[in-house]
Symmetry: C2
Subunit: 199 residues, 2 copies
DNA sequence: CGTATAATCAAACGGAGATTTGATTCTTGT
DNA sequence: ACAAGAATCAAATCTCCGTTTGATTATACG
């Protein structure tokens, strides 16, 4: 009855890492199982041992990881007790840094564009988690406005713009470029904090 | 030898309009020739009379139209002689308004994500036009900074963020929603102008 | 060692959808 | 009315993946 995993194995994580990169490069429809399997020296069919659900399951797992990472970072900051401006600044920095460090996070974009990309059925849990992140940002913004630290803005538009811009970084950021991820994060956090400064 | 177009015809423009909507809804890969042809009461094969190049050609034509529209709007403002702040404010408003009025403009996004969507060979002319738009924004920003009207920012990051946020509107904007396109345009223009205000 | 199981592969299957083809209908100009 | 071509269609083609299947190899444990 006993048995243990053989060690001729490619780890599930390795597949996810490769898949994340390839999905980001070529998009869900543009990426083939062949592409993904080749990246980890496997045949397409072998992927089905690691992910029963096939291509969809792999994408979902990638999305899960990316979303979880950013959500955790942002929540951590949102639950702290810094004053509004500092709190939001930290949240944005963490968010953008997360995006630059984890190519997979383009996941957030893809998730947002589920309609555009024609995804299958995105589990409600996913959308809930994404909405939760947006909700955290909204709270931080409202908190600052009511405290008089921020000028009054349309929270909906501001949140969409902020999230869009932060996630958008994953599209144009190139590791090894002129700026480090931390530099970009700082710059963008400054940008939005300035945008909120009460006159 | 004389001959003229029969009038049992669906206009090329009608096809582009339908295609724009469908590409926006389902994405390039998600949209089928069947979808597009059905939207104008044709069979898939018939589309090839209007667009020799098939699906690719249709997408490219849609992109062309969307990009041209926004580029023209922005250039018009950029070439005016308003003071820096007012000029940029007008450019952003025009840009965002264009995005809300023309679903096809999600084209700008898609163009940016050409790699993500796995497009074929995007004509250099397209990328040039897009870069031109970015260039116009960069100029306006630099102009304002040197004039002392704007605080110093990283022009690269700011331009990316501004363009990303503006185009991103096409993803979340819903006609008939709480805000009109013009309201959103105003709000976003204010946001970025505030972000640039010299202290 | 021997067996059960995991991990893998090679090859075949199946479907979806873009594109092609050849015929058909409609419109216009002479 | 008639010829020429434009616009269309129905059906066939062709290609590209995602997925399945059955066999093969490697590992751990008794």
């Amino acid at each position: 009855m006993p048995r243990k995993p053989a060690e001729q194995t490619v780890s599930r994580q390795a597949i996810l890492d490769a898949a994340a990169r390839i999905f980001c490069e070529r998009g869900y429809h543009g990426a083939t199982m062949q592409d993904i399997s080749a990246a980890v020296d496997l045949t397409p069919g072998s992927l089905y041992h690691h992910f029963e659900g096939g291509k969809d399951a792999i994408l979902l797992a990638v999305l899960q990881a990316g979303l979880d990472r950013v959500a955790a970072d942002v929540r951590c900051v949102a639950e702290s007790s810094f004053p509004p401006a500092e709190k939001l600044h930290r949240a944005i920095r963490a968010h953008v840094l997360g995006v630059t460090e984890q190519g997979a996070v383009a996941a957030l974009m893809i998730l947002e564009m589920r309609a555009t990309l024609g995804l299958p059925d995105v589990p409600a849990e996913f959308l809930a988690r994404r909405d939760q992140v947006e909700s955290l940002y909204r709270q931080m913004i409202v908190e600052g406005i009511t405290a008089g630290a921020f000028r009054p803005v349309d929270v909906g538009v501001f949140a969409h713009t902020l999230l869009g811009a932060s996630n958008w970084v994953s599209v144009w950021y190139r590791p090894g470029g002129r700026l480090k991820g931390a530099d970009i994060a700082e710059e963008i956090a400054d940008l939005f904090l300035n945008a909120l400064r009460a006159r």
